[in-house]
Amino acid sequence: MSLLSRIRGTLKSLFLKQTLDRDLDEELNSYLDLLAEEKVSAGMTPEQARRKARLELGGVEQVKEQVREQRLGASIDTFAQDVRYGARSLRKNRGLTIVAVLILAIGIGANTTLFSTVSAALIGGLPYEEPDRLVAGRKSRDGAPAGPVSRVDYFDYRDQSELFEGLALIGTNTTQHTVTGGTQSELVESAPVTWNLFSLLGLSPALGRGFLPEEEAMGGAAVTVISYSLWQSRYGGSPDVLDSTINVDGYPLAIVGVMPAGFEFIFDADAWRLIDLDGPWDQVRDSHSHWVVGRLKPEVTLDQAQSELDAISAGLQQLYPETNEGKGLMIVGLQDFMVYSIRSSLLVLMGTTALVLLIACANVAGLLLARGQRRMSEMAMRAALGASRWRLVRQLITESIILTTIAGALGVWLAYLLQDLIEQVMPMGDLGVNPPAINGGVLLFAVGVSIATGLIVGVVPALVGTAVHPSRQLRSGVQMSEGIRGMRLRGGLVVLQVAISVVLLIGAGLLVRSLVQLSTVELGFEADNLLTAGIRIQPSKYPSAEERSLFFGSLAEEIETLPGVTSASLISKPPIRRPWTDWPIWQEEQGRPMPEDQFFVMARWVTPGYFETAGIPLFRGRDISAQDVAGAPQVVVISEMTAGTLFPDEDPLGRMVGIGWNDVGYEIVGVVGDARLNTVERVVPALYMSSAQMGDIRMGLMVRTDGDPSLLVGPIRELLRQIDPDVVLADPTAMTTVLEDSFAGFRVIMLSLGSIAGVALLLTVIGLYGVLAYNVSQRTREIGIRLAMGASQTDLIGMVVRRGLLLVGLGLLLGLASAVPGTLLMRQLLFETGTLEPSIYAIATLILGIVAALACLLPAWRTTRVNVVEVLKQE
């Protein structure tokens, strides 16, 4: 059998189908004739012979169908036929088609959206050359990740490693600077990077050059690379920028390059400064302020590189035991590192969205089951005409796949519309990964989900709907009421939907409760009527600590004279707004502890009166005073938590402590209440030094007001312009707004999960209503008879409601039981809320119960509209 003749056969059967059919007809007729002739010669009358022959043949149509199935290419043919037939039947059932398509489109659309987001964030790749070879490094302590890396350690790793094409460093923070000169002073943010970072990412500046290796060794090369947007806004995009210098905090830096538009790596910085052998941060091995970024050599695996780093770490531990005991460098893929903060939220959302699709599937499967019931006669007719069971099943499944394909197309469109929204609430660009897009992979996903959905919703209804006995079905002539099997299946689907909805409602409820907990948490300071802003002064204008503290001191006094101001003071980092700066503190007489035993607390420096302005209670001792200036004895005020850890059973007042990395002792002069400094979620221990003894040029302004704090932004700006026009007031914001912003990410997750749960609830109610309404319509006759037999309407309503509540009750039980382990997955997202919070379980049950009861009532009420006489007359 040659391939050629096979192809010829296929083509023939496709194109010459009609000719072949006619030929077969003729042949079968002649067969019948011959058969009849045979019987006549055996002694039958022609009529008898004809009848007998027909019986023996077993139906011309059946034989033809069997031959057709036999044909090569028959499958292609039947497929086209199925599609045509399916489309016609869907058009005929327009109402059901629209409802089913909409339900599935919501499910598929939501999943496509989430998938495009998740794939962009977790697997989509970074917008850099060969991103798979890029890694990020963190410090480890005894094998566990332990935050940033020391710059001094980094140089050792870079010099000794051989499996990396390059190892670079970037600071964990940006720094704000005042840029003076030109038409106006402004604030810019800079990120410190090593010279090789840009080339390691595979990027080169759009204009000029990057940093040079020899500049690293110069010890303070006065060069900078600026961002495209700063180039546009401050220099009008002129190429002359490369000849100019930029006055940063009073020091001139030569602009050597401009990065391409849109480049941001970890930070959205305006400029990049060079990390060199001297600084800017981490002068010693136990100060850690950087992240490592590396590019593996081709073919090198993460594990191989990690082993090499472990070996280097072991060497460093031996050489510097006092700082490097137990310390290592741990690498992960750069993308994993960058999306770490949103990873768990995304996975929870993806999981819940998949559950919504499951509900949608259950819903549509229920609809198809009900329709299958109504099409029993049609199926019986087709079976009688010679269609095999397999053929009918295939037909029905084709129909549901058409349904889900349309829904899939709609879903992709929906995802396309939702894309902007997602980009707004989850700004992925800020994380440095490629923003989500509807690309080939996502389309493939949508197509796959559509087909899979079609199979899921189609198979069971198709099997149930074609389990017909032609003669019995056709003889009965009327629609038979739903079989017990179909009823159970549809009931089961509702139970499943209710269960999933309950789990989602509980999940959303737990998040709502977490947000309530967050917004009512005891902060330790008074957030109402409090204005915060950043203030930067020019170090060249105020070179000494005395001059700086004089400036800040008089600024606070002048602001306090403004009407509406109760008090004003300054702190190095306002709470929540600017986190971290954790320094070790120890009892001076015990000496500096080993690195792993160090007690880290948040270090802040404040002007006198800060605790009063912030509303932090002073428990013992005194506030920082105007006498605590440079040259006077160093003093510190500690928080209660610091006191409790450092001096568990003693009075800390008057004790001497060591702080940070200098060798000066500080006297504890006061103990204040604990406050949340980094995040709203956690109280952290703190110490407060005198800003006059620190001489910082960057401070945070805190102003307590009588009324709306934003009203004072104008007057304070005006005041600053009079005192010193080069001083910039950065980002004045009410503390309540700062807090709201810090919840923003959390709120997004909560809203997303909330709306997902809402959609799930809606779909479930539709499903429940559908099952009950269908059930009532099927039982009209039974209801009529019951009414005729004297059943009261209450009995009948009770009958329907009982069935509805039974399904809901089972679903609730199943849902509550699965929520117990299910919500454990989102434990990380919760705040001061246990996953077993009884009130949330109760509320979710209540909401679902009420909504479900409503869904039962309408079908139940319909039983009262049954007209006994008419129903019985129909028989």
Binding site: M1, S13, E27, L28, L34, E56, L57, G58, V67
Partner: protein
């Protein structure tokens, strides 16, 4: 089927049809009657199995159909074995012999 009549093994019908056609070209009913006679009624070939098999063999180019006249001057489609069909029959017959020998051995090996 039942009542002393054996079920046709899948593919066996093809073999029987090919073998039957070695004698002379025959129409559908003729083939089915001939098989019935030679097997003494053990195999009764129904139209529902016969025609799909005929079309299958025709597509494989093992037999060829042609319209002709029956003994009583009726139009009927006569099937004839092609050369590829003859070759095929040879292979099938060998296979069959091997299979029956093998099966018999299994059955006798108590």
């Amino acid at each position: 089927m039942g009542k002393g009549k054996a079920d046709l093994l899948r593919g066996t019908l093809d073999l029987l049809i090919l073998k039957t056609l070695t004698l002379e070209p025959m129409h559908g009913l003729g083939i089915s009657r001939r098989i019935e006679q030679t097997t003494r009624g053990v195999f009764q070939v129904q139209a529902g199995s016969l025609f799909p098999a005929l079309k299958r063999l025709e597509q494989e180019d093992w037999i060829e159909g042609e319209w002709g006249e029956s003994e009583n001057n009726r139009r009927a489609k006569y099937y004839r074995l092609t050369t590829t069909g003859q070759r095929r029959l040879g292979q099938e017959t060998d296979n069959w012999a091997q299979v029956t020998v093998a099966i018999t051995r299994v059955l006798e090996a108590t």
